[in-house]
């Protein structure tokens, strides 16, 4: 694995755990792979030598205490950091099958975002109709044909398990929906363009338990069609929805393993302390 050769100075555990040959869930071939990824906000070294494989069509959860860099890591995958001045990447996130480096300076961030969808912490539908929300990504890709737009919007809404709730009011404002429905509209919006990876940044932290359960169920469904990477504050959520869990601490990836193994028998002390609630 890369990373072993380029390890940070002593004291920084360079974690590069192969997912192959683990007990519990077996990993699919990686859809993307972070290789010696470093990231800086100005002079703040936020991510340190991250190496992680994201298996295709499975759910990988990122957990860790606040400020550990899990959201920062997630946002590298669709270059959200490029919207802020004074940010810097080093290393690579390689996307299969074409082996493009998502964080490479030669890669256009707009192209990256066209391939990798994202669902945010707070539901953020546009103040437009339900239909226009879901169709926006398609319109950006130049799709004008009404039948095609209609078909793909319906497919996305069905995929996000909200079609039955909104089919009668596609032309109503998305802001009139409940929080959980809005978040599923946002998922549909991201699904409509058939992304290769779907990123979730604490997608249920603003929702009530019932809406949360629906979203979690949806995420476990989604893995059949898309590779999912999810940041969550809630360890039970990670345990419920993910196949693999990566534990991050102070900008480093401490441990990654099959979710069942992480939550029952972690191999690092720091992971165990976090899981058992000793900090975080």
């Amino acid at each position: 694995m890369p990373g072993d050769t380029n390890a940070e100075p002593a004291g920084t555990p360079s974690v590069s755990i192969s997912l192959e040959g683990r007990k519990g869930t077996s990993a699919n071939a990686p859809k993307a792979r972070a290789e010696n990824l470093d990231f800086w906000y100005g002079s703040n070294h936020a991510l340190k030598n991250i190496n992680l494989a994201i298996p295709e069509n499975q759910v990988t959860a990122l957990i860790g205490p606040s400020g550990c860099g899990k959201s920062t890591f997630l946002r590298c995958f669709n270059r959200m950091h490029d919207l802020q001045p004074d940010t810097r990447y080093k290393g690579a996130i390689t996307l299969r099958p074409d082996d493009v480096n998502l964080v490479g300076p030669e890669t256009d961030p707009i192209e990256v975002r066209m391939r990798i969808g994202m669902v945010f912490q707070k539901p953020n539908p546009f103040p437009k109709s339900v239909f226009e929300n879901v169709a926006y990504g398609l319109r950006l890709r130049g799709i004008r044909n009404r039948t095609e737009l209609g078909d793909r919007v319906e497919k996305a809404l069905r995929g996000a398990a909200i079609w039955d709730e909104v089919k009668a009011r596609l032309n109503d404002s998305a802001l009139a929906l409940s929080g959980g429905q809005m978040q599923r509209i946002c998922i549909a919006r991201a699904l409509a363009t058939e992304p290769e990876i779907l990123l979730f940044d604490e997608p249920t932290s603003a929702l009530d338990p019932i809406a949360t359960a629906k979203i979690e169920e949806l995420i476990t469904e989604l893995r059949k069609r898309v590779t999912v990477l999810i940041v969550t504050h809630n360890m039970q959520q990670a345990a419920r929805v993910s196949d693999f869990t990566a534990f991050m601490y102070l900008g480093e990836l401490v441990e990654v393993d099959a979710t069942s193994k992480i939550f029952t028998n972690p191999s690092k002390k720091a992971t165990e302390d976090y899981i058992t609630g000793r900090y975080g």
Partner: protein, 310 residues
């Protein structure tokens, strides 16, 4: 123990009572000041209406200025003011919005844009007669636009640009970051985010800013006197709509003009007492126009706010 707790509670109650009195006092004070301000405005308006009462009538709107006070009307200044406002709005809106979009969405944050920002804000405080002098030198003489409606419109557009820019930036800034991120996350370019989301969602604030700017411009006298508005005009500018192809004419832009505040100024400065009535009536109408524009701004803001509720 219980006794001390009782004592502490009484102390808290005394303190609370005093604070509540202070609360009430502030409400009363605020109310008085507000009523005072509105009262002054209402008195002014009613005073104008009373003084101008003998002039109100259809003839006042359809007559040109005249040597006889009772025959004099506001046709040419009202048309002049309206046309100037059209030019001002059409010029200041695109330039102001474009400048605001650049400053807010595109410009890097460095010392240069910092200086521009400070200066935009400062421009709002420049005395209006200075704009008049600038326009006289630049538009009238340098560009040879003459003492025309076009020159007046451009001058007032310059005057309200800072207002439009500041209001637009404020409005752009109020679009939440989460909305921008949502659009960027789908692969939108900066221009697509601006044109599909940021601009449409801030239209209410932008139009409000424009109208507030226009209601300042409508009463400006100094700059248009400086560029040479005439006080006595007994003709209308050429009609913008013509009977021949292409049915539109821009001749009116080059027409000489007068405007409401100038007509008022002219009437006020006449020795004949009868003209004071004309001035008062014109003043009431001008004030009415300003209030109407502000009312439109409020309606627009309300409607957009109802549609977009973050």
């Amino acid at each position: 123990m219980a006794a001390t707790a009782q004592l502490a509670l009484e102390e808290i109650r005394r303190g609370l009572g005093w604070k509540k009195q202070l609360d009430k006092l502030f409400v009363i004070l605020g109310l008085l000041i507000m009523i005072g301000c509105l009262g002054i405005l209402a008195y002014l308006f009613l005073d104008l209406v009373r003084d101008g009462a003998p002039r109100f009538g259809w003839k006042f709107f359809t007559n040109f200025p005249s040597r006889k006070a009772e025959n004099a009307g506001i046709l040419s200044p009202a048309v002049g003011t309206s046309l100037i406002m059209v030019v001002t709005a059409l010029v200041s809106l695109p330039i102001g919005v474009a400048a605001a979009i650049y400053l807010e969405e595109y410009a890097p944050k460095n010392w240069f844009t910092g200086i521009i920002e400070v200066n935009v804000t400062n421009l709002a405080g420049v005395p209006s007669i200075v704009y008049g002098l600038l326009a006289l030198g630049l538009f009238v003489y340098q560009f040879g636009l003459g003492q025309s409606i076009l020159t007046a419109g451009l001058t007032l557009a310059l005057l309200i640009l800072p207002i439009v820019i500041v209001a637009t930036r404020e409005s752009l800034r109020s679009v939440p970051k989460a909305i921008r991120e949502a659009a960027y996350g789908l692969g939108a370019t900066r221009w697509e985010v601006t044109k599909d989301h940021v601009l449409p969602y801030s239209t209410g604030g932008i139009l409000t800013g424009l109208i507030l700017g226009l209601s300042r411009a409508i009463g400006e006298t100094a700059p248009i006197i400086t560029i040479g508005a005439l006080a006595f005009i007994a003709f209308l500018p050429p009609s913008p709509v013509t009977g021949q192809f292409p049915f539109l004419s821009f001749e009116w832009l080059h027409s000489e003009f007068t405007a409401m505040p100038i007509q008022m100024f002219n009437w006020v400065s006449r020795p004949d007492q009868a003209f004071q009535s004309n001035a008062a009536a014109a003043g009431a109408i001008l004030l009415g126009m300003t209030l109407a524009m502000n009312a439109i701004a409020i309606v627009i803001r309300y409607r957009f706010r109802k549609k977009i509720n973050w």
